[in-house]
Symmetry: C2
Subunit: 283 residues, 2 copies
């Protein structure tokens, strides 16, 4: 296959110094060399590579002493396509290697603990690719927009998140933090589609409009959260998401690059191959 | 597509009165009308249907009051292909709708509880398809063959399992219990393959040969367990597994039939569609 990326999304989409969310066009396809048809093809052909890397990650954990794991964090406004990423990118990988968790509104028990308590409980095991559909970032997004806690607490949480993620990175977790960035107009179209199709009603929630009416506040909260928590060891990537095919192929590439960076090989036998061949022959 | 099954595996492979494991030929392909090529095609074309049924099951749980869920229990001797079933059958479905859990040798904490304690903790949520790679049946299989508990305790456990599964069925869980049935010779070939390929070493465990050397005891333990726990509400299916393509297409069909039996439709809107359209337009 021809070269698909003229700039790697790992560089191109990364949140760095002076980041402004408004500078990212949700309809753009930064770094990708082709259009939709090529994107769909590229997603398909990239699945095999991602799948093989995942198997090596899993194998690595079985060799004993392995500590490597990956955590994909997905954040977005409603309808931005988190579910599609899980289905079409993560879904191409062996389910045995995936720890998927969708965080909902916190329960009373969860609220009785520190905000990271429920997050820690769902961290992926060694050798796994964890996927968080929403995450601890809700605690500096909805919590801020809805004033669920004081500004001081929000301020403090940015620091706690950075420290938490540094701890994860130091103990073997590669974080891939993705914000799917959709436009206000595209969200309207997608919500309209859900309201037009009886097979989509179950995905619609009247509360989605309440959140939509706070759009600007959410964009602000995202911008600050991304600025404050995009670090060397746990960077954020803002993925334009008005074009579903682009968002999927970009997240696939981000994950693939993260796994490639782990330099995985098949672990050597931790038994004597010749001895085992003899035992098998005699059985 | 032409008719693929002359007899449904739900009937053909079911463990009923007078079941004897030795009567099932692991190399056979009961009920299926074609060979490997057709089987592979059929698996592919069946994936979409299974996937759509899963989405309906998931949607059903969001409507409020839903209790339906499915639990696929996979049991087998080593190398029989549990992993392949998860990857190629379950893997075709949205990961968001799958609760997969692989039971290992019990931990000390687990052993300090009743044998069903750890099982209950991993039961699928409403709307989910749970997949158990090994299960509470290990507690009447390895536990029996290795005399980890007394024969009286094993005897008691059959009854406890039947009662447990009846409780699950009564509260909305459709159980699909599958034993993948492989031959002694085929296992030898598959273990030899793992020992011949450095990219497969990580899947090999010297303990596999120890278990293999107890083959007849395991076959006996399986036969009794299946006889004692195949009930109306939670039947066992013995799937011949020497031909991987057959095992996969058969388990796909068992799952599909189980989901079909739930008579799922898209849940109606639990909001006023016209009102929401107006709210959206004004947003």
């Amino acid at each position: 296959m021809a070269k698909t990326w003229k700039t790697e999304p790992t560089e191109q989409l990364r949140v760095g110094e002076g980041f402004r969310l408004a500078d990212v066009d949700p309809a753009s396809t930064p770094g990708f060399t082709g259009g939709k048809q090529y994107g769909v093809q590229s997603l398909e052909s990239g699945a095999e590579q991602l799948s093989e890397l995942q198997e090596k990650l899993f194998a690595d954990s079985r060799a004993g002493g392995g500590t490597k794991r990956v955590l994909l964090v997905l954040q977005a406004m409603d309808t931005a396509g988190k579910g599609g990423i899980v289905r079409h990118v993560v879904g191409a990988v062996d389910p045995q290697g995936i720890d998927h968790y969708a965080f909902k509104k916190p329960t009373e028990e969860e609220l009785a603990h520190d905000f990271l308590w429920r997050i820690r409980r769902e961290l992926p095991g060694v050798g796994m690719i964890g996927v968080f559909d929403r995450s601890h970032y809700e605690d500096v997004l909805v919590a801020k927009v809805r004033s669920l806690v004081s500004p001081d607490v929000i301020e403090q949480r940015y620091g706690e998140i950075v420290a938490f993620e540094e701890e994860l990175a130091a103990s073997g977790t590669t974080l891939v933090k993705v914000m799917l960035h959709i436009s206000f107009d595209e969200q309207k179209a997608r919500l309209a589609d859900r309201l037009a199709r009886p097979d989509k009603f179950w995905k619609y929630n009247p509360g989605d409009i309440d959140e939509r009416n706070l759009w600007a506040d959410y964009q602000d909260a995202y911008e600050v959260a991304l600025q404050r928590t995009s670090t060397e060891s746990a960077p954020w990537f803002v993925v334009p998401a008005d074009r579903k095919w682009y968002a999927r192929v970009a997240v696939q590439r981000l994950l693939t690059n993260a796994l490639r960076g782990l330099d995985l090989g098949w672990p050597p036998a931790d038994f004597d191959v010749a001895v085992e061949k003899t035992r098998l022959a005699a059985s």
